[in-house]
């Protein structure tokens, strides 16, 4: 994570929703984050910690209230979502969000292939591109490469999510955002898509940020772990620091950093792990 290999830099990013009303929520609170090239960061945190907001801010869905986002030295703070897409590939929790149901697999792939490029009046799919799509889809082992003309709406959720993953990485974006992208899949399919994710990130030497609710996943995937709480990053561990960590240790680390008891079982999965009330 040396300064010169930094790819994405968030400087004192704050995001407030419903500002000035009783519902005011400080979703991100002066976040600083330095993402190095080829970092593969896992992000955990309880509901409302700001994980998805963080991804949305990076993807340009909405601008931050204050702070700066630099990508490769370029200020992208105010770029809208479709402009950010040039550098950002994203897979959402819901497979329906990442793919278009009423279009064929090859049409979906063609949409993804042209990410960040000007679109013209050439016919979007041709022989050469179809070959490219087949090569990209074959490693999934789902047979999608032989069904290029099938409507995406006819695929299962797992197949759609695998397709969404390939689409998000097809144009080799600078950074890949994964927003609990296997959370809605059955365990077997989830494992397949997760393995694929690791494989593609490794093969394409991608920089990735993966939000998850699964501590075990957060510990054993990627090379860096971030824990968020109430809009702040409370834990940031590199590969060495987290190497011998157990889920139990993670909970303790969280408590120390946030100064609060950790009580969200959706993150914990094993409620028995909750340690006693600390310094409240």
């Amino acid at each position: 994570m040396s300064e010169n290999s930094s790819l994405l830099k968030l400087k004192r990013i704050s995001k407030v929703f419903s500002k000035g009303t009783v519902d005011e929520v400080r979703a991100l609170d002066k976040i600083d984050l330095n993402v190095a090239v080829e970092d593969y960061i896992t992000v955990i945190g309880s509901n409302g910690a700001g994980k998805t907001t963080l991804l949305n801010i990076i993807a340009g869905v909405y601008p931050p209230e204050s702070g700066e986002i630099m990508l490769n030295g370029r200020n992208i703070t105010k770029l809208s979502e479709y402009r950010c897409a040039e550098f950002v590939g994203r897979v959402y929790q819901d497979p329906h969000v990442g793919t278009a149901a009423k279009m064929s697999i090859e049409e979906n792939m063609a949409m993804a292939l042209l990410r960040g490029q000007p679109r013209g009046l050439r016919v979007a799919t041709n022989k050469q591109r179809r070959e490219l799509f087949r090569i990209a889809l074959a490693p999934l082992g789902l047979g999608l490469e032989n069904r290029l003309n099938a409507l995406v709406g006819t695929l299962s959720g797992g197949q759609r999510q695998a397709l969404a993953l390939v689409m998000a990485t097809l144009s080799n974006p600078a950074i890949l955002l994964l927003d609990e992208h296997i959370a809605t899949l059955d365990p077997r399919t989830a494992q397949i898509v997760l393995d694929l994710t690791d494989m593609i990130v490794k093969r394409e030497k991608m920089t990735a940020i993966m939000v998850t609710h699964n501590m075990e996943m957060a510990l054993h995937h990627g090379n860096r772990l971030i824990m968020m709480h109430k809009g702040r990053i409370v834990v940031d561990m590199n590969q060495e620091q987290r190497a011998d960590l157990s889920i139990q240790d993670l909970v303790v680390a969280f408590e120390r950093a946030s100064g609060e008891e950790f009580v969200d079982d959706s993150v914990l999965l094993r409620p028995g792990n909750v340690v006693g009330v600390s310094d409240l």
Binding site: A85, N108, M111
Partner: protein, 305 residues
């Protein structure tokens, strides 16, 4: 009992009407189905096209250029509707109704009076009628409508499969995914709604020349006629792929005209046409819902927009 000549004429006439109103149906298809943009501008942009073409022809312009100008006027109408929606965030349905209502006044201004005859003017149809072998009214009407339909079909079939066309189709399918792929969905919406209304106005310009007059009220219910054609085409032909979808819409427009012409022939009062059309659309839209209801499937509440 059935006179072959009468049946032939009925088929030919329905085909011709299906083609000239098919452009309208294609426009409605692009907004409602491709973009999922409920656009009621149609009732106004149809007359706009007719009025622009008619006034230009009366003033001596080449009828082909006048028809192209009608298309251009429709593009502008669609542009206004889509800008109201994308830039001022007015809901699509409301934005299009506002433009439709405004267009009524504009159409009156363009024509200068509520109706305008084109009877002795040079139109694309009267030009064709001078060609050898095309003296018969129905024959030249069919030939002109057919040539235009083939041209429009070829252009749309190509355009909707281009990179831009693909982005336009995806916008109606999954706007989030399209933005994520780096496309400004405001722009694709503006482009699509403009093209759709261009087609509708083109249809209006051609219909005006075919029937020989423009009336400022001729657009009432056009949106429903277009929707009926689209729904019939989808239900009967269950098309897959861009080319077949476009052909199905034209086919739906033909079947719709055939049914109406037959009903008129059987003695239905012309004034009842719009009610029948509305009933067709109501039935077509509610049948899938009722089928699910009978099977006791869960159904989401009706969308308000």
């Amino acid at each position: 009992m059935l006179d072959p000549a009468a049946v032939g004429h009925l088929l030919g006439f329905s085909l011709y009407e299906g083609l000239v109103f098919g452009f309208l149906a294609l426009g409605v298809y692009i907004t409602f189905r491709v973009l999922s943009f409920p656009d009621l501008t149609v009732d106004g942009s149809f007359v706009l096209g007719a009025a622009v073409a008619a006034v230009l022809i009366v003033n001596g312009m080449n009828p082909f250029l006048a028809t192209l100008a009608a298309l251009g006027a429709g593009l502008c109408a669609g542009l206004v509707t889509s800008l109201l929606n994308t830039k001022l965030r007015i809901p699509a349905l409301l934005a299009s109704i506002l433009v439709m209502v405004g267009l009524y006044s504009i159409n009156l201004r363009i024509m200068g009076r509520p109706s305008l005859p084109l009877l002795r003017e040079v139109t694309i149809f009267s030009l064709a009628s001078h060609l050898p072998g095309l003296e018969n009214r129905l024959v030249y009407q069919l030939v002109v409508a057919g040539v235009l339909a083939v041209m429009v079909f070829l252009i749309l079939n190509w355009f909707l499969r281009t990179e831009i066309g693909l982005a336009l189709r995806a916008t109606g399918d999954n706007e989030q995914m399209v933005r994520g792929a780096g496309v400004d969905t405001d722009k694709t919406t503006i482009l699509g709604v403009s093209i759709a209304n261009g087609l509708v106005a083109f249809s209006g310009g051609v219909v005006a020349q075919a029937q020989g007059f423009v009336d400022v009220n001729m657009g009432i219910g056009m949106i429903i006629i277009g929707l009926a054609s689209v729904i019939i085409g989808e239900a009967l032909f269950r098309p897959k792929g861009v080319a077949r979808l476009l052909l199905a819409v034209l086919g739906g427009a033909f079947i719709y005209r055939l049914v109406l012409s037959a009903a008129l022939r059987l003695g239905m009062a012309p004034g009842d046409l719009k009610l029948i059309t509305a009933l067709i659309v109501i039935i077509a839209l509610s049948v899938p819902y009722l089928q699910k209801k009978i099977r006791r499937e869960w159904l989401p509440p009706a969308p308000r927009w």
